[in-house]
């Protein structure tokens, strides 16, 4: 039995050297391979439950909102055409100095991935949002029914504490409104009017952004996350905010 400390000090040789068959074998046991060491003779594993679900303790049955809005982002499909960003700006009157959603770019050297990867980001509508905790006027709050992290702009005093609390850089100060603005999953502009999708999800030509209801086992977001074929992850899990934006490839 190798000590975790020793493992941490060893060089991770990269998962691309591990056959998909073997990886799948572990996944079926509910384990995710996180590292490859010593010429492939040692593997580090973590619980698949922890990786796949933002709320590891509660696992599958506990999604506290109805509907529990969520987005699954197929990150390798993103081509940075930015139609999502344009649709969002148009729908929600976002000025060009700010964003409710944007696309990050990073270099990747993975064998199959190509040279770059585009990563769409937006408010994660966390189950344990830090932004709402630190707001002194409760201008930002988590909707008790659908879980959307909302802004009551008449209460916002522009102190920007929420920006500092947010691990996802998902808030900007709207100078015209004299208040912080952020993604609301298009609640005011679309969902509350009966639309099923956010503007960004509808505008995507590549099927990157899958929007839906995590509390419904028949929903494609639920099915996309609750499977064992592909790894699903969240950004910055160490922040502990239980985000509702999930990422996958393929």
């Amino acid at each position: 039995m190798i000590l975790k400390k020793e493992l941490d000090m060893s060089r991770n040789e990269g998962l691309e050297n591990l056959g998909s068959e073997e990886r799948r074998h572990f996944l079926k046991m509910g384990l995710v391979v996180t590292g490859l060491f010593a010429g492939g003779t040692l593997l580090s594993l973590s619980s698949g439950a922890r990786r796949v679900f933002a709320s590891s303790g509660e696992f599958a049955e506990k999604y506290p909102y109805k509907p529990h809005y969520s987005m699954l982002i197929h990150v390798d499909r993103c081509i940075d055409c930015e139609r999502c960003k344009k649709a969002c700006a148009k729908t929600n009157h976002v000025p060009d100095y700010g964003y409710r959603t944007t696309i990050l770019e990073r270099d990747v050297s993975g064998a199959l991935a190509g040279k770059r990867e585009f990563v769409p980001v937006l408010c994660n509508h966390c189950n344990l949002p830090q932004c709402t905790r630190v707001c002194p006027t409760r201008a930002t709050y988590k909707d008790p029914v659908n879980g959307i992290v909302q802004m009551n702009k008449s209460k916002c005093i522009g102190c920007l504490t929420c920006q500092m609390g947010c691990p996802y850089n998902a808030r900007y100060f709207n100078e015209e409104q004299m208040a912080v603005d952020k993604c609301s999953f298009c609640w005011e502009s679309r969902l509350s009017k009966g639309e099923a999708l956010t503007a960004c999800a509808e505008a995507c030509p590549a099927g990157v952004r899958i929007f839906g209801d995590l509390s419904d086992p028949n929903d494609k977001v639920y099915r996309g996350i609750h499977q064992i074929e592909k790894t699903v992850w969240v950004l910055r899990p160490e922040a502990g905010t239980k985000p509702n934006i999930f990422y996958t490839r393929g």
Binding site: R77, C78, D80, E82, G98, I103, A113, F118
Partner: protein, 126 residues
């Protein structure tokens, strides 16, 4: 006179699409901006590094004119999957398939802006 104007516009269009290409005896970098922004085709890679000759693509697949393909209504991923345009080679056998490794060819708005020498507008809260 009218014809001269049209030719000038055409030339300007070609120069614009070809961008800052350092074309030697080939077309340099071609940035396709329709139907989505943007896709980079590198003559450098395909001609100089991989050794294809002009006829490989400019014999029915693409005209000798940057931007011509984009004028066609069928310049879509669907056409590529059916073996049209880039899909003639990018079929999973000759070269990687058109429905894989998206960001290898799609440089995006960011890549295109870099090619044009534009810097991104910084978001206010940085």
């Amino acid at each position: 006179m009218k014809n001269v104007t049209i030719i000038c516009l055409l030339l300007a269009g070609v120069a614009l699409v070809a961008g800052s290409a350092t074309a030697g005896d080939h077309g340099g970098d071609i940035h396709f901006t329709r139907p989505v922004e943007a896709v980079l085709f590198s003559h450098d890679i395909h001609v100089d590094q991989l050794g294809f000759d002009c006829d490989s693509c400019h014999d029915g697949l693409f005209e000798y004119e940057a931007g011509a393909a984009e004028q066609n209504g069928d310049f879509t991923m669907e056409s590529l999957y059916g073996g049209g345009y880039c899909g003639a080679c990018h079929d999973g056998e000759t070269a990687f398939a058109s429905d894989t490794r998206c960001a290898t060819c799609h440089e995006g708005v960011k890549g295109y802006n870099r090619a044009l020498g534009k810097t991104e507008t910084a978001a206010s809260h940085h």
